[in-house]
Symmetry: C2
């Protein structure tokens, strides 16, 4: 039987997905969490513990963990890192355990915690990820982190790009309007992704905060083949 | 100051809209409720009372009202009408009050009840509606009914078409990723809307139920200039 692809535009819509049982969630938070998590594994982090609340993050910091934490895109004073991919250098995180708390990303992990596995998806690992998903041979739900529960363009474009890659394999199909919409948007945007995203609201927020240096990196495909997967409370590289 | 346009892809996301105070909601349920409500006013209905629960609908039926009610797209046995636009002939509803209960449409009205006004939008009244909105000179939130809380293509395409019309007026602007996405999808789809919607999940559901006769009518622009507006518990034509 074919495996299905469903796209969920924000965590708030996840409770209403059609896909039941035995699916893998691909989480996408392109301009922040999932790209940064890929960068951290590429640079040798041992494992990442995602937490959804600031309280948990602060507690783990007081226990001696390295902590990345931001609110509305800005690094919090007491944290070791914000959530820019550029924070996670080999010197800073190689061989270490990192606690990670972000506005959108880790809350989305909480949302999808009943999935069989949750894989971190980004343009930086898209080809490796699509090959891994083909091998896993399960239904796929692509969960966009969005921004404060709202639809956002960059995560949806990634959902379209990944759906298109998966549908090139005969074992996958989709009956999901959101998947069709995201593939059509991807096909408009793909020739010049940065130019297309000039209209994205989140990009403008990052620009205002002076955090937009990471955008070209976030939008460039296949700089890594890590597959960060959340299972049993921790993210490990299965690539 | 310019007025803003925001698009909300499903009622479930309405609580998180950015637009505050003094806005008009345009409700879109293209393959059913809002197109049918426009048809009913075009054919002379006096007023429409939308209700969100079957219990209310049945109670009003027992009081002697004409009632339109469906569940999952099918007319309910005890109701006078389903929610196909073709039900509402001048003979059946001219000069009368109609009670209207549908799976998606009237629940979306409930969701948006705190808006200043809720206008019913459809391709059948899109030009008249856009001119009315320009005259009203308020912020606009286009609320797509979707399907069981999910994104659906046909409502989103209408949102794109209406956003594009409004943005041709210098008094409107948008900072909403969903509005940009829906305009881009509209520009892919508009040359052959029925062909594009072949991939829409809801259309296939209607086909299965044998209710797809109304689709060409629903996708044809400007057959009417009625502006059904919900205010104070009842829908009246303000066109």
């Amino acid at each position: 039987m074919n495996k299905t692809i469903e796209v969920c535009f924000t965590p708030k819509l996840f409770a209403d997905i059609t896909t039941k049982d035995d699916y893998i969630v691909v989480l996408a938070d392109i301009l922040r969490a999932t790209t940064s998590i890929c960068a951290a594994f590429q640079n040798g982090v041992k494992e990442i513990i995602p937490v959804a609340s600031l309280e948990q993050a602060m507690e783990l910091k007081s226990e001696g963990y390295l902590v990345a934490s931001e609110q509305d895109g800005k690094k919090l004073d007491w944290a070791d890192f914000g959530n820019s991919a550029f924070n996670f250098t080999p010197e800073a995180i190689g061989g270490k355990t990192l606690v990670y708390c972000t506005t959108n990303g880790t809350r989305a992990i909480e949302t999808a915690r009943h999935a069989r596995k949750i894989a971190m998806g980004a343009f930086v690992n898209i080809t490796a990820l699509s090959e891994w998903l083909v091998n896993e041979n399960k239904n796929v739900v692509i969960l966009c982190s969005g921004w404060k529960n709202k639809f956002c363009l960059e995560d949806s474009l990634f959902a379209g790009a990944l759906s298109e890659k998966l549908l090139k394999h005969p074992g996958f199909e989709t009956f999901c309007d959101s998947a069709h919409a995201s593939m059509d948007l991807w096909n408009i945007a793909k020739t010049d992704l940065p130019a297309y995203l000039e209209k994205a609201a989140h990009r403008h927020r990052l620009k205002k905060l002076g955090l937009d240096d990471v955008i070209p990196y976030s939008l460039t495909a296949d700089s890594t083949s890590v597959i960060p997967v959340f299972e049993g409370g921790v993210i490990l590289d299965k690539g």
